[in-house]
Structures are given as structure tokens and as C-alpha cells.
Symmetry: C2
DNA sequence: CCGTATTATCCCATAATAGTATAATTTTAA
DNA sequence: TTAAAATTATACTATTATGGGATAATACGG
């Protein structure tokens, strides 16, 4: 998942991101390290927050702006 | 998820699809009815099988051919 | 109708998850 | 340089979600 990359690009902390997504910091840490995977609805929330496609978030494309 | 639609378009049964995805029929039924959701890796396997983007599979776009 | 194929649901054992607390690491600034 | 603050990672646990087998329900063809 291109999560850490997106978060860093936005210059926010895991805690800050977590609050935006209504979850907590350790969950974000786990997503970033790949220790755990979000459910689909969480995946979509993340993609929407960063305004990228799910395919981009999942590194299935280099184009973040696939029509949404 | 645009699963039933894709499967029907291909003219195959849940059982047939399940075998392609190395799972079983009841699991496919649940995905279609929305009773349960696949993990991300399963989601990707489904998208790949139908050769569509995850965003399309998740009904986040009308374009099934987002560059992959 | 009857048999067959297809799809949905019950039950259970197992696995995965979120959350809390806390540890470890990194960054900042004095 | 080092102490404090901020950030990130991990251990533990209770709960939830999952997959699979078995079977029920439904649709479909002859």
C-alpha cells in the first residue's frame, strides 16, 4: 500500500491521519508496516482522504487520478 | 461490489468462479450478497480474474479499463 | 412435476481486527 | 550533547469477521 508515501507527501503524522479517518495511530502504523490490512471500507476512506484511486493506493497503477 | 454483474457477463457460475479463485461457492455467494467482504488480496484476485480495476470492481468508476 | 444445477444460509473453528497501553525511535531545541 | 517532546512500532486482549463444510432453498430444463 502506498500509504506512508501519501501521508508523508501531505506532511502529516500517523496520529493526525488516524483522527481524520476516525481510528487510532497504531492502526495506521500497522497499515503502513503491512502488519495488518484494512477492510475494504477503510481502504476506500483512505483513498478518498488522499483523493487517489484504490488501484493507486494498492500500487496497481502509477496514475493516482484514475477517474473516480 | 460489481461482482455478480461481472460473473454473469462471463456466463459462469459461482462454483466455477470459486474454483478459479481457489475458494468455494458459498464464499462467492456471500461476496455477491454483500454479507461478507473479501480481504484485499482476494479483492485483487477477483479484479485480475475479470481483468478490471479494483476501482471498477468497487463501483468507484464506470471505466473498467483503468490502466493497470 | 422431477431431477439437476445454481445460489443462499446455518454452524463452527480459526484467524484477523481494533483498541489500550506502552515501548522504542526520531526529532527538536536548548 | 542531551533532555523533552513527538512520532512510530509492538505486546496483549476481547471482539469480530472469515472461510469452509453441510445443507436448505431456489431456479431451470426436460
Amino acid at each position: 500500500m502506498r500509504l506512508k508515501q501519501l501521508r508523508k507527501a501531505k506532511g502529516i503524522s500517523q496520529l493526525n491521519l488516524a483522527m481524520h479517518l476516525n481510528t487510532n495511530q497504531n492502526t495506521m502504523s500497522r497499515y503502513e508496516t503491512g502488519e495488518r490490512e484494512p477492510a475494504i471500507n477503510e481502504l476506500i476512506k483512505i483513498a478518498d482522504f488522499f483523493n487517489v484511486s484504490v488501484d493507486y493506493l494498492l500500487e496497481r497503477t502509477d496514475n493516482p487520478n484514475m477517474q473516480k
